[in-house]
């Protein structure tokens, strides 16, 4: 299973990577740490799942080149790009904020998949609140349990 993880926080990515290792399937995980890296990753390849953070920097951090721009809902750019290209990837939004600003309204996480679908973004399978308590892991595993390997 090919998984793209769009996540800038190291601690969060490490937790996600650890979780993916527990899956019964072989997982090929790719990390993108910024909106730009996420954009490039989806141009380059296809994935079965995308685990997507919402608040991201615009570009990867590179020493000595100035700060990338923080984007509070940068993950939306990746979602819109996927929708624009009519891509089949399933997206799990994993964020640390209890709502997502969409069309200048704050949408609670549980409502976001349906609101996004109403606006032509049908790829969001789940929208999960990340916390250090680890409840999110169960939710991701539940979502990924529906995965059917269609590559053969």
């Amino acid at each position: 299973m090919r998984v793209l993880v769009v996540e800038d926080d190291d601690f969060k990515f490490e937790d996600i990577a650890d979780l993916l290792q527990t899956l019964p399937l072989a997982v090929e995980a790719t990390r993108a740490s910024s909106v730009q890296a996420g954009y490039e990753a989806i141009q380059r390849a296809g994935y079965d799942y995308i685990i997507l953070d919402m608040a991201l920097p615009s570009h990867n951090l590179v020493a000595g080149t100035g700060n990338p721009y923080p984007e509070p809902v940068g993950g939306l750019e990746v979602l819109l790009e996927l929708a624009d290209q009519r891509r089949p990837e399933k997206v799990i939004v994993l964020t640390q904020y209890p709502s997502i600003e969409f069309n200048r309204e704050y949408i609670p996480l549980e409502r976001f998949p349906s609101v996004a679908a109403q606006h032509g973004i049908g790829s969001v399978r789940a929208c999960i609140l990340f916390g250090l308590d680890g409840d999110w892991k169960e939710l991701i595993l539940r979502e990924m349990a529906n995965y059917e390997d269609t590559s053969h």
């Binding site: 909106v35 919402m54 615009s58 570009h59 951090l61 000595g64 750019e77």
Partner: protein, 975 residues
């Protein structure tokens, strides 16, 4: 009339109400209720008699209805309710009452005719005084009051006329604490922000229904939208004006009937008696020439005329002007526009036959700095063309660009639905881009913003080889007028979101620098040149430091600037333009800015309004949930990221191979207890990392109000820089960006305080210092302890680094970094330059602010001089200090370098005294001057507060001392 009896009324209920009203001792509330019921009960059968009884019969004189032609107390507050008969009988009632009062009404009509003549044709002090005597003898209606307000606004302070008019206005109610007459005056007075006032009114009175039955609601609404959109609105406005006087209702009705007849439905057309009609016809023509008379301040002419026109609705030109302006400024209504409204009919009468081709042929060269009547008209015409449903799909992109260049604010005039339709029907890529750009500015939809970026990138890739500069050149060839829009739009925030074109953070800055350079060159724009230089120096320092820069705070600059332009730009620009521009010192502002806002709210002078606007802008910059700091603080720092990062590695560290031997050690219990406590402290600090802007959030560490002298002085200095830039540029395009920089400077003080607080917390609870002696005796435990503290140190440092402003915005740098950069660049040029550097003073001084690169610039000149003319391996001493002076704080920089052994000290001294024009051109990043001339020119421009150059012949050293006054520049000791 004695013969008229209550019992003759057909309605028994009406009889009862009238009998109730006979009671002269009834209380105010009961009388108000009965009056309301009485008017509602009057039907067409009773209209004549009921009117006679209520208005003319002495039995009802205590109701105060007898003075119906002219009110004795125009803005009296006895009753806020609007008493009037039902809609279906209102015109019959009007005709009856006009007929009954025709003599006094004719007299008033003639009085206003004289008023127009005296003020519009005469206008001298003596004619003004005669006009005022006339008003005092005939009484003041709302119509009269509006005219006085218009002349008051146009008079400004010329010849003392303003004072005379102000006194008359005061006599009739215009004074502090009397909101309704104040709103009436402010709506017309060009010094007040029309849009902001309107929004305040609409918010305050919640006029969702637009029309109320209370004067305090409906009058302000009418002031902003005096022309009715529907017949229901016409009736409601008629009732409102009647509540002031019968004369006001009459003149308003006649104005609409004759000058905007399409707004009066068939069956609502009334004719009055010949005397009234004749007097009215004379009055109508007496406002001719109003534009010329009222256009004293040429800078604002059409805007001023638009505002004053509502006092002259009897004149067709004035009414048309209101019709044009009303739709132009009713942005909320325009955004929700779905179907043709009646008021557009008035517009179409004037411009209904325009076509895009005709507009292009007439092509007015726009004056983008102010309101140009032709650009204004083009804008409404263009909006009307779209609204009529004319097919614009045949208009090519290059013509659309030209149309945009001869109009303004099209995004505000069209609804987002209309703009979206234009995007989808655009005939070519450029037209699509133009429409998508307009849509982006107004739409709330993420898809619209996304599509704009896609369309822009696609256009740039396919038409200008992926080069944004080539794109700007291309746009410039089509219409110069739209270039500033794109230059402002393509700031770092927007560029950073163009993921197809811009592949790295470095490229974001390089592209922005290139755009600013391009704009500076093509349009001789000094502000762009300065910003480009500032960014360039910042990039160099970043590159020299070679560190990771991860500021997580930002604002959505385009949205912030749009918001500022909508709400406060007018107040700020008027303030900057005011010769009396000033900001009080902090000593006279003893309380927080929140209290100050309340204080200045009452103070209506230009300075107070400007300062109030600035403080509100700063507050919104901090706490606006959509574009402000708080949004980034919440999503990029507070929620999860900060806690996760501060805890990162502290649980897994025990699993590291090095500490395997400690597994199961009872000593770890102390670590576990510490970790639990540490997490509690982390939770506490993270949960308080927000603005204390609401009552339920008072525990917040950050404040959106200015509460200390340091922030106030920075605001003061930065505001003076904004005013200086505005005056030197001569237009307001740079104001929003400069005000944004000001906000960052003020916020930076707050951020530094939070950084210090976090640093202070670490020794208190962020370090693991076990008490159990095992930890000091056992080497592995000691290493573990050290490792844990290394992790917390890194975690704290990382989180602290997030709480900085983005470096490109009012960039800041350690003085030591600036010095290192200058030395490195000098060595690139003079490889043998290897001085013995002696640093003293505050090398850890942080410099920030809009002009901080000036320190770099001056230092570069001095050190390159030292490298070229001095001893390359001699001592180079650099001393930097922060000094408190009477005039404020200053940075003092003193550089001493050794002369070459072969140099003739006397010659050097002489050369220093005259300056060498021929060298070091590259040292000067701003102008073509060089070396000492450059420093001297910086001094002359006020960029340097002090400059001393001395050559000590005995010691063979050159000393240069520079003083930088801390205005736009901000400095603090240490980071």
């Amino acid at each position: 009339m004695p013969s008229e009896r209550i019992s003759d009324l057909r309605s028994e209920r009406l009889q009862n109400y009238l009998r109730g009203l006979l009671d002269r001792k009834s209380d105010h509330g009961a009388r108000k209720q009965t009056l309301e019921k009485t008017f509602r009960e009057i039907n067409h059968l009773d209209i004549d008699l009921a009117g006679s009884l209520l208005y003319d019969n002495p039995l009802f004189s205590h109701l105060g209805l007898r003075e119906e032609a002219t009110p004795s107390n125009l803005f009296g507050t006895d009753f806020d309710a609007i008493f009037c008969v039902r809609d279906e009988v209102i015109l019959s009632h009007l005709r009856n009452r006009v007929e009954r009062n025709k003599e006094s009404l004719v007299s008033l009509l003639e009085g206003h005719l004289s008023l127009n003549e005296l003020m519009l044709d005469g206008g001298s002090i003596s004619s003004n005084i005669r006009a005022i005597q006339l008003i005092e003898s005939k009484g003041c209606t709302l119509h009269t009051f509006l005219k006085i307000a218009a002349f008051y606004s146009a008079a400004a302070n010329k010849d003392g006329a303003s004072r005379i008019f102000e006194e008359v206005l005061r006599k009739f109610g215009y004074r502090r604490g009397n909101p309704i007459p104040n709103i009436v005056v402010d709506t017309i007075n060009w010094q007040f922000d029309f849009l902001r006032l309107r929004r305040t009114i609409e918010q305050a009175y919640e006029t969702d229904l637009h029309i109320g039955n209370r004067r305090s609601i409906t009058l302000p609404v009418w002031m902003y939208n005096p022309l009715p959109s529907t017949s229901i609105e016409l009736t409601a406005y008629l009732k409102l004006l009647w509540s002031y006087s019968l004369y006001d209702a009459l003149v308003y009705y006649l104005s609409i009937r004759d000058n905007a007849s399409s707004l009066v439905e068939e069956g609502m057309v009334l004719q009055f008696g010949p005397e009234v009609e004749a007097a009215w016809t004379r009055l109508k023509s007496a406002a001719n020439g109003a534009r010329e008379k009222l256009m004293v301040n040429r800078e604002h002419e059409d805007f001023l005329f638009f505002r004053a026109s509502r006092a002259f609705l009897e004149n067709r030109d004035c009414l048309t002007e209101v019709a044009l302006g009303q739709i132009f400024y009713r942005d909320a209504a325009v955004h929700n526009y779905q179907k043709p409204q009646l008021q557009t009919i008035a517009l179409e009468a004037l411009i209904g036959h325009d076509t895009p081709e005709a507009l292009l042929r007439a092509g007015e060269k726009p004056d983008t700095t102010d309101y140009n009547p032709n650009v204004f008209r083009n804008s409404v015409a263009l909006a009307n063309i779209v609204r009529r449903g004319d097919n614009l799909s045949s208009i090519s992109g290059s013509d659309v660009a030209k149309l945009m260049g001869i109009s303004r604010d099209i995004d505000r005039l069209l609804s987002t639905d209309e703009l979206r339709t234009l995007v989808s029907a655009a005939p070519d890529d450029l037209a699509s881009l133009m429409y998508a750009t307009l849509l982006r500015a107004r739409s709330d939809q993420n898809w619209d913003s996304f599509r704009f970026k896609k369309v822009l990138q696609s256009y740039v890739i396919h038409h200008t080889q992926g080069n944004l500069i080539a794109f700007l050149d291309h746009i410039r060839n089509l219409s110069e007028a739209i270039v500033p829009y794109y230059v402002q739009l393509l700031d770092e925030t927007t560029i950073s979101q163009l993921h197809q074109l811009i592949t790295s953070a470095k490229m974001v800055y390089e592209t922005r620098i290139a755009i600013l350079d391009w704009h500076a060159d093509r349009f001789s724009d000094e502000n762009s040149r300065h910003r480009a230089l500032q960014l360039r120096v910042d990039r160099k320092i970043d590159s020299l430091r070679g560190t990771i820069n991860e500021a997580r705070l930002n604002i959505d600059s385009p949205r912030f600037c749009d918001w500022m332009a909508d709400r406060h730009l007018s107040d700020i620009v008027s303030w900057l333009r005011d010769p009396a521009f000033s900001i009080p010192d902090f000593a006279s502002v003893s309380r927080g800015s929140k209290d100050l806002i309340e204080t200045v709210e009452l103070n209506r002078d230009q300075n107070s309004r400007g300062l109030l606007a600035l403080l509100e802008i700063y507050r919104e910059f901090c706490v606006n949930p959509h574009f402000g700091i708080t949004s980034y603080l919440g999503r990029r720092i507070r929620h999860g990221s900060m806690k996760g990062t501060l805890l990162n590695g502290l649980k897994s560290v025990r699993g590291e191979q090095e500490f395997y031997s400690l597994r199961g050690s009872p000593s770890f219990e102390e670590y576990d207890i510490w970790l639990v406590e540490y997490e509690k402290h982390v939770n506490a600090i993270v949960s308080s990392l927000h603005f204390n802007d609401k009552r339920d959030r008072v525990d917040g560490l950050l404040s959106s109000t200015i509460v200390n002298a340091q922030q106030w002085n920075i605001l003061r200095g930065a505001a003076e820089n904004v005013a200086r830039a505005f005056k030197s540029e001569g237009h307001f395009h740079g104001v929003p960006v400069n005000v944004e920089h000001l906000c960052w400077l003020v916020l930076e003080v707050e951020l530094e305080r939070i950084q210090r607080l976090l640093r202070d917390k670490r020794p208190a609870w962020g370090m693991f210092a076990p008490c159990n002696p095992d930890w000091t005796d056992n080497l592995v435990l000691k290493r573990f302890c050290s490792r844990v503290n290394g992790i917390t140190d890194a975690n704290f440092q990382r989180c602290i680094s997030w709480l900085r402003k983005p470096t490109n915005i009012s960039p800041s740098a350690l003085f030591s970094d600036v010095l290192s950069l200058v030395l490195a660049e000098t060595r690139d040029r003079f490889p043998e330059f290897a001085p013995a550097l002696v640093e003293s003073g505050l090398s850890e001084l942080t410099l920030s602010g809009t002009l901080y690169y000036l320190v770099y610039d001056a230092l570069y000149v001095i050190i390159v001089n030292a490298a070229e003319h001095g001893n390359p391996t001699g001592e180079l001493s650099v001393d930097v200090r922060l000094e408190e002076r009477k005039s404020g704080r200053a940075v003092t920089l003193c550089v001493t370098s050794a002369l070459l052994n072969s140099s003739n000290a006397l010659e050097v001294k002489k050369k220093l005294e005259v300056g060498d024009k021929s060298r070091l051109e590259e040292a000067n990043l701003i102008s073509k001057g060089s070396g000492l001339l450059k420093l001297q020119s910086m001094r002359a421009r006020g960029q340097l507060d002090g400059l001393e150059v001395d050559c000590n012949i005995e010691n063979r050293i050159v000393t240069v001392r520079l003083d930088f006054r801390l205005e736009g520049l901000h400095a603090s000791a240490g980071r």
